[in-house]
């Protein structure tokens, strides 16, 4: 009112509004008028949208720059929001390479037409076809297994040879899991839906919910800590969380990790194999620097980068000839499910509905 009573006398109302609007316009023009992409004549760059927040990735990018002279500019994003962001940016997007965790995210990016075809013999030669897009628009570059963690002094590992066992009545009140909104859980259930259909998946989810020691909360590490504290005996986690806990800077975490074992489920001859998800990447459909993006992706699947990723991040490589570091080799051979990775994306929404129906929050 004060500002207005002042202005009403001096300037006409309309005049003031016009003035303010033009001030806003000026501000926008000042900010938005800059050219959307700065031309880079001297310095080659590649712009990376990534939802992986690992120091290992930064090391790899630095190594790539050292090798090729191509500067890597990154922007960390949440995988789920990448799609909406890229769609809003349209053909003006600055992104060259899109790096994300979870095959479902890659599938959705590809379906939305946001990825360009990957015409790279180097990638096709290096990476097993299973970890590449059937439509040739993305490739995986690291693998993580969803495993069963258990309390060493409370559970006989021979009683948990399958994820199905977590729905077993014998484990009533002994299972910890994180929220079903988590993408690792969604993709795991999506693979089950692909194999057995939604009804069987629902029965399994209901069985696990009946065995919950407590309502889901926290992340994978929190489930492991709950095992160490005796709140539950079993949990579903990604394999590298326990490895990371064993090497933690926090002595309390190392002590906790010593109480916990893990096992790859479903390894038997008549079992489907452990659920495995990938981190992957594709070149953006409107990439300003597609050649640089492809070069970076080819570097990520090189033997050197693959063994570094396995070493620093404890993820499984996607090329068979990359050497496994001791920590990964020690947890035994991994036989993984043969469910196509594209199925993870196809069934994710249904998986969310099955989780809801099972009362897994």
């Amino acid at each position: 009112m004060l500002l207005l009573s002042l202005s009403r006398r001096r300037v006409s109302r309309g005049g003031l509004a016009v003035g303010l609007l033009s001030a806003c316009g000026l501000l926008l023009a000042a900010c938005g008028g800059a050219p959307p992409r700065e031309p880079d004549e001297t310095q080659r760059v590649v712009n990376v949208y990534t939802s992986r927040h690992y120091d290992a990735d930064q090391r790899l990018y630095a190594l790539f720059t050292a090798r090729t002279g191509i500067e890597v500019r990154t922007q960390e994003k949440r995988g789920e929001e990448l799609l909406a962001l890229l769609q809003a940016e349209g053909d003006q997007s600055p992104a060259d390479l899109i790096v994300t965790v979870d095959a479902g995210n890659l599938y959705r990016l590809q379906e939305a037409g946001l990825l360009a075809p990957l015409a790279s013999a180097a990638i096709a030669d290096a990476v097993d076809a299973r970890y590449r897009d059937p439509n040739g628009r993305w490739t995986g570059f690291s693998r993580r297994a969803r495993v069963i963690a258990y309390r060493l002094d409370a559970v006989d590992p021979s009683s948990i040879t399958s994820m199905d066992d977590l729905a077993n009545q014998a484990f009533r009140g002994r299972v910890c899991a994180r929220s079903s909104t988590n993408i690792y859980n969604l993709s795991m259930l999506a693979a089950r839906i692909e194999r057995h259909g939604p009804d069987a998946a629902l029965v399994w989810a209901q069985g696990v919910v009946a065995n919950f020691a407590r309502a889901p909360r926290g992340g994978d590490t929190d489930q492991l800590k709950a095992i160490a504290a005796g709140e539950c005996d079993l949990a579903i986690v990604n394999h590298y969380y326990l490895l990371r806990m064993q090497r933690s800077e926090d002595p309390a975490e190392r002590e906790a990790a010593a109480l916990i074992g893990m096992t790859f489920p479903d390894q038997g001859p008549n079992q489907p194999g452990a659920h495995v998800n990938i981190s992957g990447a594709g070149v953006a459909a409107h990439a300003p620097h597609p050649a640089e993006a492809q070069a970076l992706l080819e570097f990520l699947v090189s033997t050197e980068a693959q063994s570094l990723l396995a070493e620093l991040n404890e993820e499984f490589p996607v090329r068979p000839d990359a050497p496994l570091p001791e920590a990964l080799a020690a947890i035994g051979p991994l036989r993984e499910e043969t469910t196509p990775l594209s199925a993870l994306g196809q069934h994710q929404a249904e998986a969310a509905r099955v989780f809801e129906a099972a009362g897994w929050p």
């Binding site: 509004a17 008028g33 929001e81 079903s180």
Partner: protein
């Protein structure tokens, strides 16, 4: 004007609702009622606790004399600088499996607890300002008429503090409605977690938008209730002579109670969680800190720009809502409602609304791509949309302190509107404008989801760094950036606190 400013703030939210109305089919939500119950239950319980803690601590600090009062009067504001999700992580480590305090802060009550600790400063600031600016004469008159301390609190101080308390509580409740991080981490289903579940897990943006519009409706309802509670009450009079407030000298027992209450609150809300963060950060090499210099600088630049852009909007909103003409005042309050919608909506929803607006503008050929400077502008717009409402609150409260009689007196003495503004209104409202700037600054410093979506390349802020590590469950590395957010917010928070302390009517002798 106010309505226009409100529209600027509400545009992203309105786009969200428009998207929901033009919707296709949506699936039924099994967690729908649990989400509604979660959101409203947390708003009532968390908001109620926040109000209770805020009012009691403000009353003790403003009206009573006890050892440590001065210290507590600024220290109790500190949780304002800590993002809610940082508190939640800290409490998880302290009380979950293997933690030193096996209380297991989680689920509904855990979230209510975190919200109360994180958001009570909104109520505390407002209530303390109200208590501190009340008329010493009215209190003395009451006392001379034989009123007991309790009667004075209830009959004299409480009614005049009511608008401030209501406004502060409304802010706390809107923060609770918009929160995603705490609810998600502690495992509570709310409307906001439902928005993310529907949108990202089930790929049903329409369901998400409808949930979001429900959230926005709740925010508007809340503002209406706040207005109704506040009523048309105005308090005229009060002597302009400055005199120190008469503080109660407490007896030994009540001194101990007052001290323990403030010390306990401070321990639970600040010392315990920050102490844990410091312990974690100490496990990392010092070289980590060097990597944080750039995100710190970026965060300060961004928060400063946010304050600069948001402040004029907030001032227009606040001024428009206080026009004498009832029709115009209605319009102005409508603007405030619209701005409130922006505040109560999850940041990600507002950011995507802004994205939609920019996408439309791009198709119309008005702007280039959403990169670099345009993205920066979109981000600032999102900040303005979200934080104009909390910025407008203190300005409005400050303007309400300009009593009509002062204006009349100036007019009688022949002062024109310009002179009245500069000589009377501006000096009285100035501290509250500063308060608004500081609140917006601290809020923008903590803001995560919109920053994550819209920031330019190679432009990380502290909140982004803290999130990146925490989301990967590496809390030891997340601790240092989280602590830095608190530290960067500390100075403005302390400034804010001291400005409000001094914002007493009248002139010092």
């Amino acid at each position: 004007m106010g309505a226009l400013a409100g529209l600027v703030c509400a545009a992203p939210a309105v786009l969200v609702i428009a998207g929901a109305l033009s919707s296709g089919p949506t699936s039924p939500l099994p967690f729908f009622w649990a989400s509604v119950a979660g959101s409203f239950g947390l708003a009532v319980v968390g908001g109620g606790f926040a109000a209770l803690l805020g009012v009691i601590s403000a009353w003790l600090v403003a009206m009573c004399a006890f050892p440590g009062r001065r210290f507590f009067s600024w220290a109790l504001v500190l949780p304002l600088a800590a993002p809610g999700y940082v508190l939640a992580y800290a409490y998880a480590a302290l009380t979950w499996a293997g933690g030193p305090a096996p209380l297991s802060v989680s689920g509904f009550w855990g979230a209510a607890w975190i919200y109360a600790l994180a958001f009570y400063p909104y109520v505390y600031l407002a209530a303390r300002a109200a208590f501190a600016s009340q008329s010493a004469c009215a209190l003395e008159a009451a006392r001379s008429l034989g009123a007991s301390p309790l009667a004075m609190a209830l009959k004299v101080a409480a009614p005049s503090a009511w608008p401030g308390v209501a406004a502060g509580t409304a802010l706390a409740v809107m923060e609770i409605l918009a929160d995603f991080g705490v609810a998600q981490y502690l495992g509570v289903s709310t409307l906001t977690t439902g928005v993310f579940r529907a949108w990202f897990s089930k790929a049903e943006p329409q369901t998400a938008l409808q949930l979001a519009s429900l959230l926005l409706t709740a925010a508007v309802g809340l503002l209406v209730v706040e207005r109704l509670l506040r009523g048309r009450r105005g308090f005229a009079g009060g002597s302009a002579r400055w005199r120190p407030l008469p503080r109660y000298r407490l007896g030994a027992f009540w001194t101990a109670v007052a001290f323990l209450f403030c010390a306990g609150l401070l321990t639970l809300a600040v010392i315990a969680p920050l102490g844990w963060l410091i312990r974690l950060a100490a496990l990392r090499p010092l070289s980590d800190l060097a990597l944080l210099a750039e995100p710190l600088g970026n965060a300060l630049i961004l928060a400063g720009a946010a304050a600069l852009v948001t402040l004029p909007l907030a001032a227009i909103l606040a001024a428009a809502a206080r026009q004498p003409d009832p029709l115009r005042a209605r319009l102005g309050q409508g603007g405030l409602f619209l701005a409130g919608m922006g505040y109560a909506a999850p940041g990600a929803v507002i950011a995507l609304g802004a994205l939609a607006a920019f996408a439309a503008a791009r198709e119309a050929g008005l702007v280039g791509g959403l990169s670099g400077a345009t993205a920066f502008a979109a981000l600032l717009w999102t900040y303005a949309a979200r934080f104009a409402a909390p910025g407008a609150q203190p300005i409005e409260a400050g303007l309400s302190r300009v009593s009509a009689s002062l204006g009349f007196a100036a007019r009688t003495l022949g002062a024109g509107p310009v002179r009245r503004f500069w000589a009377v209104d501006a000096p009285i409202a100035a501290p509250s404008v500063l308060a608004a700037a500081l609140i917006v600054f601290v809020e923008a410093l903590k803001e995560l989801p919109a920053t994550l979506i819209l920031r330019p390349f190679n432009f990380d802020t502290l909140a982004v760094r803290a999130y990146a590590y925490a989301s990967d469950e590496r809390l030891t590395q997340a601790a240092a950036p989280a602590l830095l957010i608190v530290l960067a917010g500390l100075l403005p928070t302390l400034l804010l606190s001291s400005r409000i302390e001094r914002a007493r009517a009248g002139r010092r002798p």
